[in-house]
Symmetry: C2
Subunit: 203 residues, 2 copies
Amino acid sequence: MSPTANQPNSDTKTLVLDCAVPLFAQKGYTGVSMREIAKAVGIQAATLYYHFPNKEALHIATMAHAFSDKAEGMSAAMSEPGTPEERLRRFINLFTFLMSGDKDFRMLLQRELLDGDEEQLETLATKVFQEQFIGIANLANEVAPGCDAHMLAISMAGLVLYHLETGPIRRFLPGGKSEHDDPEVIAHHVTSLLLNGMGGCRR
Amino acid sequence: MSPTANQPNSDTKTLVLDCAVPLFAQKGYTGVSMREIAKAVGIQAATLYYHFPNKEALHIATMAHAFSDKAEGMSAAMSEPGTPEERLRRFINLFTFLMSGDKDFRMLLQRELLDGDEEQLETLATKVFQEQFIGIANLANEVAPGCDAHMLAISMAGLVLYHLETGPIRRFLPGGKSEHDDPEVIAHHVTSLLLNGMGGCRR
DNA sequence: GTCTATATATGGATAGAC
DNA sequence: GTCTATCCATATATAGAC
């Protein structure tokens, strides 16, 4: 293997993407500099331009990298047997734990909803989320046939994500407790609300 | 009134804040430059530093300006008479229409959840949202006594806001229709879900 | 592939005239 | 109060050595 071989020693590109994910997630596109990313990787800023033509390309690649990781795992939970209610319960649980554990992913998604242009959002929707979304919508349709599965799927995901996203401010609002950050508590609340409405906690 | 009088001619400060709101909302703190804000106002960048000590102070003042406008109106809707269900219906309707009409406000709020530090979030929670939040939580407690009013209040607001925030990407997801952007459709869906759960659309 | 060095633009912020 | 002019730090991006 000569020193000029192609793949061996460095998959610097992947390393760059891994380091860029938390930076873009926490500080946003304009909040992160190429120097900052390079420093996190442990290389010089100029080297980034060998792997990516410019900052925007690096940003898009970073998002694709972060999002592609997440496209797996959930499908299995929804295709398992059980009554629609049981499967809803299982899905909300899994989804809440998954999302709860990856703050960077959630922040990237939120930033993309704020800053992404039409093309980026369409790519995200069709190439990344479509399959999972269909699974959720199908589940919604089994739990509540005849209802608008699209809106229900948004509500299902949104309920979980909003409780997670408001974590930093909820503790300052009346009635906020640390238990409200517990994925188990959130999943239980959301499941109960989805299945029975607001009165659902009185069993 | 001498030319050195204090308040008269210019409330440039207010004008600056009005112009800064949509800029910070759409591009974020690091995405907007002082020059850009000055240009939108029609003044020179240096003039901004007469009214505000630095960019961060201008940003904080901008958010206070945007948020304080919204602290009114909702209280009335919740104190009106009616059964808890009727009042919930009215509140969700009003809240959905209010939030639907002010995209800048929603984006500012989202960005604050992403970028705000503890102190800013505490200020936002206690000085701006507390009163409204208590109203929502009280309503939740009347609709569903014995349940966790804090979590229900988050769910109520979150359901509405998430449908609005995902507007740009929903149209690319399966089953997405333009009607899903209609505040009336969103409000009806959310109310039904809150009162009856997912099965609520089969009446 | 990665480096050093640098071109070039733009950012926040200040000084001082009017 | 607002302007012009400018300082200085930092940004993206490129050139060319190794």
